[in-house]
């Protein structure tokens, strides 16, 4: 199978869907003439023109609010947050407007808008350019929340997001853009809200998503190689809707669960997964659920500090070894 980078896969999804649906409108800061700071939208201005690939002022609240108006009047806007951290600038447009419009109107309007954003640390970008907000988006009802970890998933999930009738928060990771992976030729989509077993195993289940999924796979390799422990690795792919079934199915085999994400531990997605597993499959657990997540501090710049705040593969290995002793 051909290999593409995560960036190329995203661009291919945007291109194919824009060809298919003339209502898709991209808008954001430096996405057109400059091609996007992470190059995802490179070449799309030339291909689709300035009406559909729109450079905006630095006005996240304004252009996402406009996205709501576009979506309510028949368009499929795809506003881009250059960094996820800027979602807080646009918080009203996102959470008071887009997320609630349909419910507040008793279902009379819909907001088919996909907000694309990249998030995460690991590059020394500091506390205002490294955050991960999937828990915020999962907590406040109204958005589907998608976090692809591989190029193939990035393409298939983005195509589904662009066809969804609901608001979708499509979350990329800044350190995934240059990763490469096999991407099928031809048309395919991946449904939103369905987890994927990325590695099969017998002894414990590791659940993750986004870039941390790659760390989980790396940890699983090390556990096998150095400790003879067979870890099953599940890529949640979406935190809303959240596919607990696939996790429970795995637990019926492994009976041990480790959840890892780079975002802050407190009230994070891991806490939610753990609770739902407790509610639905407590009897399957042979040990307390283990969480390996970001520390509850703003993300520092120095590598020696950032590597402590954001859990690295060795932290997952340590967590797994502890879990296996329970």
């Amino acid at each position: 199978m051909r290999e593409l980078t995560y960036t190329q896969a995203l661009r291919e999804a945007l291109t194919e869907e824009m060809e298919r649906d003339p209502n898709i409108i991209l808008m954001g800061e430096d996405i057109g003439a400059y091609g996007g700071v992470f190059r995802v939208t490179e070449g799309l201005l030339a291909r689709f023109g300035p009406e559909r690939v729109r450079d905006t002022p630095i006005s996240e609240a304004g252009f996402i609010g406009m996205g709501v108006g576009l979506a309510m009047t028949g368009k499929r806007p795809v506003p881009e947050l250059m960094f996820m951290d800027f979602a807080l600038v646009a918080a009203d447009s996102i959470w008071n407007q887009a997320a609630k419009m349909r419910a507040m109107s008793g279902g009379r309007v819909k907001v088919p808008m996909v907000i694309r954003a990249q998030q995460g640390g690991g590059r020394g970008n500091g506390a205002q350019h490294s955050q991960s907000f999937e828990a915020l988006f999962t907590h406040i009802p109204g958005f589907k929340v998608v976090l692809p970890a591989t190029p193939a998933d990035a393409k298939g999930l983005l195509k589904s997001a662009l066809r969804d009738e609901n608001p979708v928060m499509f979350i990329e990771h800044k350190l995934l853009y240059n990763t490469k992976g096999p991407v099928p030729d031809g048309e395919y989509t991946i449904p939103l809200g369905v987890a994927d077993v990325k590695r099969e195993g017998q002894d414990l289940t590791i659940v993750s998503y986004s870039r941390q999924l790659l760390f989980a796979l790396e940890a699983a390799e090390a556990l096998q190689r150095e400790h003879g422990i067979s870890a099953e690795v599940i890529d949640l792919r979406c935190t809303a809707p959240m596919d607990i079934e696939t996790i429970v199915k795995s637990l019926r085999k492994t009976h041990r669960l480790l959840i890892t994400h780079e975002s802050h531990a407190s009230c994070g997605v891991g806490a939610e997964i753990a609770m739902r597993v407790m509610e639905t499959a407590f009897d399957e657990l042979d040990a307390p659920i283990m969480r390996v997540a970001g520390l509850d501090v703003p993300i520092p710049v120095a590598k020696t500090l950032e590597d402590v705040v954001l859990p690295q593969p060795d932290a997952i290995v340590r967590g797994a070894l502890k879990l296996m002793k329970e």
Binding site: I25, E51, T56, P57, S59, A61, G62, F63, I64, G65, M66, G67, V68, G69, L70, A71, M72, T73, G74, K75, P77, D92, S93, N96, Q97, M101, R102, A103, M104, S105, G106, G107, R108, V109, K110, P112, P141, G142, D164, E165, N166
Partner: protein
């Protein structure tokens, strides 16, 4: 006031309908049949009616939590609106939105909004949609003088002018942002000066003169449809009741309110119609009787409508 008599009469009747709707709601609120928030627009009917009568049925509208007047002027079903006030499943938003969240895409109404200035970028988005589709529609957004100090307002004005969007920005300057007088919330000599910073056309009108509002919005719509971009309209008006029910109104004097009651937009239009068009008291009585009947019917409809079933807590949310 040089508009045709028929138009003036229908605007008069709609203003009377809005007044009667709001007065009925005040009563129902005091009797605890309406719960939650309610921000009556009594006194501001000329702005709502003048503006919404000056655009087409398929033009877009966003307004605010004080937006009943605009929604009724745009043509919302009054029965469904009253049922929404009473939290019934026959309400315009099935009882889920209440007073501050009426929406009806069939009349171009993209929603009231409970967040100050949030409707402005949404209307700008609808205007962009119309521009992209080249369908000749315009978007009207109505907001208060409090909105002019919000970030979303400024961002939307900037982009609207930058892209020459077919957008009409109508500020209902009622002199108070909630309980704060205008002079204490911004340093401008007049609200319309906000537009200067965006190189945007701006006009000031007497918001209690329905014809002045109508003419200004009609011209703004003409320019917008001709590709001339947005217009900012400051309509000077006054809310004769408090910000919400139970407002102590300690921030203004009884004399000030009394002076504005003399400039009541409905009284003014009535005086003009009587004087210039020869409309008789009997004709006015007939209009008011129709309006009162319509409101009585709406209240009856709402009261006889069922509440939403508990299971509906999960519906009308995901598509």
């Amino acid at each position: 006031m040089s508009l045709p008599k028929d138009l003036l009469l229908s605007m008069y009747e709609r203003m009377a309908l809005i007044r009667a709707f709001e007065e009925a709601c005040v009563q129902l609120y005091m009797e605890k049949e309406i719960r939650g928030s309610f921000h009556p627009c009594v006194g501001q009917e000329a702005t709502a009616v003048g503006a919404c009568f000056a655009i087409n049925p398929d033009d877009y509208l966003t307004c605010t939590y004080r937006g009943h007047g605009a929604c009724i002027a745009k043509g919302i079903d009054v029965n469904a609106a009253m049922a929404e006030m009473l939290g019934r499943r026959t309400g315009v938003s099935k009882g889920k939105g209440g007073s501050m969240h009426w929406a009806d895409p069939s009349i171009g109404l993209l929603g009231e909004n409970a967040i100050v200035a949030a409707g402005v970028p949404i209307a700008a988005g609808a205007a962009l949609s119309a521009q992209l589709d080249r369908n000749g529609r315009v978007a009207l957004t109505i907001f208060g003088d409090g909105a002019i100090n919000q970030g979303a307002f400024h961002e939307a004005l900037n982009m609207a002018q930058l892209w020459k969007l077919p957008l009409i920005l109508l500020c209902e300057n009622n002199l108070y942002a909630e309980m704060t007088p205008l002079a204490k919330s911004n340093p401008l000599e007049q609200v319309a000066d906000r537009a200067k910073g965006y190189n945007m056309r701006a006009v000031v009108v007497d918001g209690n003169d329905v014809c002045a509002v109508y003419d200004a919005v009609r011209e703004a719509a003409r320019l917008a449809r001709a590709g001339e971009g947005p217009t900012f309209i400051e309509a000077r008006t006054y809310r004769l009741l408090g910000h919400m029910i139970g407002d102590s109104e300690s921030y203004r004097t009884k004399e000030e309110v009394a002076a504005w009651r003399e400039r009541d937009p409905i009284k003014r239009l009535r005086a003009h119609l009587a004087q210039a068009e020869g409309v008789t008291d009997a004709e006015f009585d007939a209009i008011h009787a129709r309006v009162q009947q319509q409101i009585a019917d709406a209240v009856k409809f709402a009261r006889e409508s069922p509440y939403p079933d508990p299971e509906e807590a999960y519906t009308d949310f995901w598509v």
